[in-house]
């Protein structure tokens, strides 16, 4: 089989899962009306499949900041952070992230994906070990692969299993990096951070926590799981993304280890790409300010999450263990999930469809992402529609 034939085979497998030209992946959004509504084809749909957790995509403060940055600094930096791409805004945002997490150091990356790629591949290398949760995001897997370190997985959210695998490493624990996530993107569950930290201290390892989905969502000021658990000072490196609660694109890493600065000189995903555009940086800085003082947004978000999670649970859907902004209905077969996804769209609700092997345990997911801008009536409509479709997909 040549290279192109291999791609053809993959395309055939994909089409067998999504017959009739169903465009669940990469669906064209024609117009965006607000943080909660858009047009798909000729339908005005409710957006329940975005990561816009605080609903800030149209925040006037962010839009104005982005406009001003374009007028003042142009559309792009056209260069790497290592060369001409470190403007005042980039450096200011790094200081603001470090301040937010009460850390001495912060680095801004061009995407959240690159934040994990760049941090992991900068911290470990061949001969070192990364011990990662089995349900880790692809950016974590890819960062580990790029690093050349030995990759060992532990069972999802199972600290005892992690300890067992750490013990097997013997004296290699000294050069082992443990990686976990604040909120996992598939089922919306949270890492058992206190248990992980207890073990990592016992073995003397370094811990990286990815707060991509938990930033802005957990904790009084929105730092994430570190704030919710009061364990900020126990985590060595925190990464995150701008593309969820902060409504732009980019990523960061903060730490109290001064060695973080060295990543600027060794991390290819940091060096060999252009830095974020001035507008992106400006809107992110404005959004971070809103996030920090956004306890009212988090309050509304959690009200919405609890409303939908409770209603779906009462209807009989199998859900992830923790209520939160990521609420996934777990279905046994891809056919059930596809039917559910299509039926929801026919009821003008857009959600995410996740099929094996992307979904855990070979299951399929219809995943909702709730945000603070959804009204109680919108959430009620989504819950009612799921209830209406329950018998259809479970027939």
């Amino acid at each position: 089989m040549n290279l192109l034939e291999k791609l053809d085979a993959a395309a055939t497998a994909r089409k067998s899962l999504l017959p009739d030209g169903v465009g669940a992946f990469g669906i064209p959004i024609e117009e965006v009306y607000s943080a909660t509504e858009a047009r798909i084809g000729d339908r005005r749909v409710l957006l329940l499949g975005t990561n816009n957790y605080l609903g800030l995509t149209f925040a006037p403060e962010c839009i104005q900041a982005a406009h001003q940055a374009i007028d003042k600094e142009g559309t792009g930096t056209t260069g790497s952070r290592m060369a001409n791409g470190s403007y005042f805004g980039h450096r200011a945002l790094e200081r603001e992230f470090a301040d937010f997490y009460q850390c001495s150091n912060g680095i801004v990356f061009t995407t959240g994906y690159q934040a994990n790629l760049g941090t992991i591949s900068g911290l470990v290398g061949p001969g070192d070990t990364v011990l990662i949760d089995g349900d880790s995001h692809a950016s974590i897997y890819d960062g580990c692969i790029l690093s050349g370190a030995d990759i060992v997985r532990f069972k999802h959210n199972d600290a005892a299993d992690m300890e067992k695998r750490l013990r097997r490493l013997g004296n290699r624990v000294e050069t082992t990096l443990i990686i976990a996530e604040g909120i996992y993107s598939m089922l919306g569950d949270q890492a058992p951070l206190a248990e992980i930290i207890k073990i990592k201290k016992q073995y003397g390892c370094i811990l990286l926590l990815d707060e991509a989905h938990s930033l802005g969502v957990l904790g009084e000021t929105g730092q994430g799981l570190v704030e919710k658990t009061g364990l900020l000072n126990e985590v060595d490196f925190i990464t995150g993304t701008f593309s969820k609660s902060l409504c732009s694109i980019g990523g960061f890493c903060v730490s109290n280890h001064p060695q973080l600065e060295q990543l600027r000189y060794v991390s290819h995903p940091y060096i060999f790409t252009a830095s974020p555009s001035p507008a992106t940086i400006a809107s992110t800085r404005a959004a971070l300010e809103l996030l920090r003082k956004g306890s009212h947004l988090r309050e509304q978000l959690w009200k919405n999450c609890t409303q939908l999670y409770t209603q779906l649970k009462q209807t009989g859907y199998q859900l992830g263990p923790d209520p939160g902004p990521v609420i996934a209905a777990i279905l046994e077969t891809p056919q059930q999930a596809l039917l559910m996804w299509k039926s929801l769209l026919e009821h003008n609700i857009y959600v995410n469809l996740i099929l094996p092997p992307a979904a855990p345990e070979g299951k399929s997911l219809v995943r909702c992402s709730v945000n603070a801008a959804h009204t109680s009536e919108q959430i009620q409509y989504v819950g009612d529609t799921f209830a209406k479709l329950y018998d259809l997909v479970n027939a």
């Binding site: 089995g134 990759i151 997985r153 855990p360 070979g362």
Partner: protein, 85 residues
């Protein structure tokens, strides 16, 4: 570890792969290709590796699997790691 140990690993892998394979009619042997003949998806393979790690109390880095294509090659990797531990 001895040749006997290697054969035991092969037997154990064949037993587990029989239950995981999407192609039940394929008789599993050391030369059986994990992907092209058994259609084992990546997640199932990674979960199988965790099981093997627990069975033999060893660590198998998943990047060591890059060159593994057949049941026999996987058994040889497990045997090598176990022998060195």
């Amino acid at each position: 570890m001895s040749e006997t140990d290697y054969n035991q690993i092969v037997q154990l892998l064949c037993d587990r792969l029989t239950s995981l394979s999407k192609v039940p009619e394929v008789s599993i042997a050391p030369e059986t290709n994990l992907i092209t003949q058994l259609s084992i998806d990546s997640i199932k393979l990674l979960n199988l590796i965790m099981e093997i790690e627990d069975t033999f109390d060893i660590s198998i880095p998943i990047n060591a699997l890059t060159d593994i294509q057949t049941v026999g090659e996987l058994a040889a990797l497990v045997h090598k790691i176990k022998s060195a531990s």
